[in-house]
């Protein structure tokens, strides 16, 4: 199971992030009120049960039907107290669900029964899971999710299969990881060390083994790690290009660039059959039917795996609908990272230096093992 016995549980659970510091005062504030309320009820009950127990010779009781004033009192008082819980709770929740704009982004993918992380610079790590259930390569890559001390990091999640939940008790944070949809949260660790990651949403046979580790390192070490130096995550760390670069390779392999050709190619006799993707990310896209959608991660993902969902104004549906079965969630993250990176004039058209498309004849037959490719 998980490493290390950390001894008996402390009175106040380990705090290791900004959110944990926001959680604790609120938790103990509610604890104080509710304990007081509970003790009040218990005290009144005990007092009544002792003082008004049936005594010989005194069984006659007064006819008391109620009191509007008391009803009002114990309706309004709890409500006001509850509303302070509400207001404080909103404040904490608001912080938890809105990542700072400038935080670097890490992708985490949940699947039965492991967590996979991808960093913008291409590092990939298995945060944890059930080793019996992994490929040999994944088993080699089991490590920890590396996060920098005192610096916010945005984490975007998606699931490959069922609903999972990425819970980090020491950070007092939790988020359901849903198939087909990106959800984001953010962490700003305040303590060095290793912390539990639990899958908190029941996900099948080895749900309880879908656990992993977060490792918080000093910011400088984190920067070095992102540059490909040092093995902070505790697993082999082959950085073979950034996520966007991997995305470019997929883009070429999947032959996206035969239809989504760059502006530069227009007028060279080539005909664009699909919208230009340069500078697309973050723009408002007019959709047939008169609506506009902000081109964010979710939009791009939907446009790749379910192209018929939204057709861009001025274009016809031409894209094959089977990319969802060809592209893994990890590859989608790479593709989206590439499309995010595309600025006007930066997209390469198809040329002789492109990565060969899936199914293209290779020089040596044994290298032709592209996963999910059209065979």
């Amino acid at each position: 199971m998980l490493d290390g016995n950390r001894g008996p549980l402390p009175a106040i659970a380990e705090r290791a992030s900004v959110m944990a510091d926001l959680f604790e005062p609120l938790f103990w504030y509610i604890t104080a009120w509710t304990t007081a309320g509970f003790l009040l009820v218990c005290a009144l009950l005990t007092w009544c049960c002792i003082a008004y127990r049936r005594k010989p010779g005194r069984i006659s009781t007064p006819r008391i039907l109620g009191s509007h004033r008391l009803e009002l009192f114990w309706t309004v008082t709890p409500l006001l107290v509850f509303l302070t819980f509400y207001a404080w709770g909103v404040y904490v929740y608001d912080k938890a669900v809105h990542p700072p704009a400038d935080a670097p982004e890490v992708y985490v993918i949940g699947k039965q029964w492991m967590w996979k992380a991808q960093y913008p610079n291409g590092q990939r790590v298995i945060i944890g899971g059930n080793p019996k259930n992994m490929t040999e390569e994944d088993r080699q890559n089991i490590g920890a999710l590396v996060l920098p001390l005192n610096r916010p990091v945005k984490v975007t999640f998606i699931s490959e299969d069922v609903i999972h939940d990425f819970g980090v008790p020491a950070f007092r944070q939790k988020i359901d990881v849903i198939p087909g949809r990106y959800v984001s949260t953010w962490y700003q660790p305040t303590k060095l060390g290793e912390f539990h990651v639990f899958c908190d949403q029941y996900c099948g046979a080895w749900h309880s083994l879908m656990v992993g580790k977060i490792k918080v390192v000093p910011a400088a070490e984190f920067d070095a790690f992102l540059e490909g130096k040092g093995g902070a995550q505790g697993s082999p760390n082959p950085v073979d290009g950034s996520l966007a670069h991997k995305g470019l390779q997929h883009f070429q392999r999947l032959e996206c660039n035969t239809c989504h050709i760059p502006n530069a190619a227009i007028g060279t006799g080539r005909h664009a059959r699909a919208p230009n993707l340069e500078g697309l990310y973050g723009r408002d896209v007019p959709i047939k039917g008169g609506i506009t959608i902000r081109a964010d991660d979710q939009y791009l993902r939907d446009a790749i795996v379910n192209p018929g969902k939204h057709i861009v104004e001025g274009w016809e549906r031409a894209m094959p609908g089977n990319y969802g079965t060809q592209v893994s969630e990890e590859d989608l993250n790479a593709l989206i990272a590439y499309i995010k990176w595309l600025r006007p004039g930066t997209q390469l058209g198809p040329n002789n230096n492109s990565v060969a498309p899936y199914g293209a004849p290779r020089q040596t037959p044994e290298t032709n093992k592209s996963p999910g490719g059209k065979q």
């Binding site: 009950l45 009803e71 909103v90 020491a170 080895w206």
Partner: protein, 586 residues
């Protein structure tokens, strides 16, 4: 200063103890078919009682397996797969086959006509059909549990339940779907009965609070259950026919399922607690010899819970991918729904004020209810508050919270009800000593079982984990130890109540000196309940004046016979109506 004045009852001398008739609903007819084809609401109540007791045993065994397995960090006795099936069996059986039918189907059936002065429910055949439908649904569920088990958790979230699980989800889901109809039938029956069949004088303002609670519950059953039925049907369509409804890989939306599921299943927790609140109001007034404090507040808070309870479902989903603004709204509405429960607790406590309290088993269970339900209620605030729910969601904190409400609340109220109405249902009294002991043992065992789980949840131990970090072991062992005590506590009533059927002393018509109409008929009642048309002349809890709802005096209250005869002097001990002014407090 506001003064609340109730009905001024017309009074009459206490009735003579009615002669126990030779024939009652239990011995009027006999043989298998007399039970299998009965349309007597009391016999159907007994059928439900026997069935759900069996299911409680099944669910309890599953709980025992779960707790035993959690003794060690890597699972003491079960594999992961077996553990998943055990906790799912525990949840499905306890919720759908015990808690939802518990008070509504057992006491609702048995008592609603008796309490409002009717001969039966409005639709006796529908009532019998509801039991058969329930048993058919239960058979499907048991089939699912035996033919490979269900490993999805009782919440059945897709796409796991619709696509990835290899267990026998379909029969189990179909069983839940079917039992839903039984719940609708019971709710409809009770609602119509309360509307149309009240005896003369039984106005809405004189209804016992148990009837108000049952009425509010029926409202939830009628409006909520169809939604879960549709949801489960959609789930089955997706699982069996592959139509994309909830699974995103075929075009569905998994969060949609959660909305639909909780739209029923949150109100369903009120199906499980509001009837218990009704029982508490009955028992508390009787054993403190007081009018209920704030009748209208207690009655309308039941209705308030039923209505607002429909608007809070998404508080189960604060971290499940709902929008920020809907989370804000649902947290706010959840704060509102907590208020009626608080109102009830304060009114119950105020009812004890200046009472003459005795501590027979029904009262012991009710006092335990008050303490445990209060814990369950206040710990709900941590989960209604979004900032704390982010961490506590799906941990043992939630498990402990809802067990305090469902078990500490509903099961104890159910046991209070069983002990309160047992003499009426069976005509026998049970052991005073053992029943009090059982209430104490259950209360202590319960605390030991679930308080450690709050600590575990606060430290982040997730639900549904057979493997857990070693630092959590101490609290899990404590919890399992408590569960063993709780198990012993549950077995005790099974023994002494069964023994009472054969060896218990015969019960009088009104052994607790209670005011409700159900106590004005013999124990056990005759087939058609009332030999005459009961005319209600006053509200339900005129203990201070000492009259029942028909305006007749009450017999001596329980425990009075224990007094030293030397001290039994003075008018205060005379049974029967006592002229008394309404007093005002606050």
């Amino acid at each position: 200063m506001s003064i609340v004045i109730g009905d001024t009852p017309r009074t009459a001398p206490p009735p003579p103890e009615p002669e126990t008739p030779r024939r009652n609903y239990l011995n009027e007819t006999s043989g298998f078919w007399s039970w299998a084809l009965t349309v007597d609401h009391k016999r159907i109540g007994i059928l439900y009682l026997v069935s759900i007791t069996a299911f409680f045993l099944v669910g309890g065994i599953a709980a025992g397996l779960v707790r035993a397995n959690l003794l060690t960090p890597n699972g003491a006795i079960l594999t992961e797969d077996q553990y998943n099936k055990a906790f799912t069996a525990h949840g499905v059986v306890m919720l759908f086959l015990f808690l939802i039918p518990s008070i509504p189907a057992v006491f609702g059936n048995f008592l609603v006509p008796l309490m409002i002065g009717a001969k039966d429910l409005a639709f006796p055949r529908l009532n019998l059909a509801s039991w058969y439908v329930f048993m058919i649904g239960a058979a499907f569920m048991v089939w699912g549990l035996l033919s490979g088990g269900i490993d999805t958790g009782w919440t059945l979230y897709p796409p796991y339940s619709s696509r990835y699980s290899h267990a026998s989800v379909a029969p189990g889901v179909f069983g839940v779907f079917i039992t839903g109809f039984s719940s609708i039938m019971t709710g409809l029956n009770i609602m119509v009965t309360v509307h149309k069949m009240r005896a003369p004088g039984m106005t809405w303002g004189r209804l016992p609070l148990f009837i108000w609670a049952m009425y509010a519950t029926s409202f939830i059953q009628l409006l909520g259950t169809p939604v879960v039925a549709i949801t489960l049907l959609l789930l089955l369509v997706e699982r069996l026919a592959g139509v994309g409804i909830f699974d995103p890989s075929i075009g569905g939306d998994p969060v949609l399922y959660q909305h639909l599921f909780w739209f029923y299943s949150h109100p369903a927790v009120y199906i499980m607690i509001v009837p218990g609140m009704g029982v508490v109001s009955e028992v508390l007034t009787c054993f403190s010899r007081k009018n209920i404090f704030g009748y209208k507040a207690v009655a309308w808070s039941s209705v308030g819970i039923a209505v607002v309870g429909f608007l809070v479902w998404a508080h189960h989903m604060f971290v499940a991918g709902i929008s920020y603004y809907s989370a804000l709204l649902f947290s706010f509405l959840t704060m509102l729904v907590a208020v009626p429960s608080a109102i009830k607790v304060f009114n119950w406590v105020a009812t004890l004020y200046r009472g003459s309290i005795t501590f027979q088993a029904p009262m012991m269970f009710t006092l335990a209810f008050l303490v445990l339900f209060t814990v369950g209620g206040v710990t709900g605030m941590f989960l209604a508050t979004m900032g704390t729910d982010i961490h506590l969601h799906d941990t043992y904190f939630v498990v402990a919270h809802f067990h305090f409400v469902m078990v500490g609340g509903m099961v104890l109220a159910y046991l209070a009800g069983i002990h309160f109405w047992w003499p009426k249902m069976t005509g026998r009294m049970y052991s005073d000593f053992w029943s009090k002991t059982s209430a104490t043992v259950i209360f202590v065992g319960f605390f030991f079982t679930f308080v450690p789980q709050f600590v575990l949840g606060y430290h982040g131990m997730p639900r549904r984990y057979p493997n857990y970090p070693e630092e959590f072991q101490v609290y899990n062992v404590l919890s399992t130890a408590g569960a063993s005590i709780l198990g012993v506590g549950y077995l005790m009533p099974a023994v002494y109540l069964t023994l009472s059927l054969f060896f218990g002393p015969k019960a009088s018509a009104n052994p607790w000196s209670a005011t409700g109409l159900e106590w004005q008929v013999p124990s056990p009642p005759t087939v058609f309940n009332f030999e005459y048309l009961p005319i209600t002349v006053c509200g339900p809890y005129e203990y201070a004046i000492g009259v029942d709802q028909m305006g007749r005096g009450l017999p001596e209250p329980p425990g009075a016979g224990d007094d030293n005869p030397a001290t039994r002097v003075g008018a205060t001990l005379l049974p029967g109506p006592q002229p008394k002014e309404t007093e005002v407090v606050g």
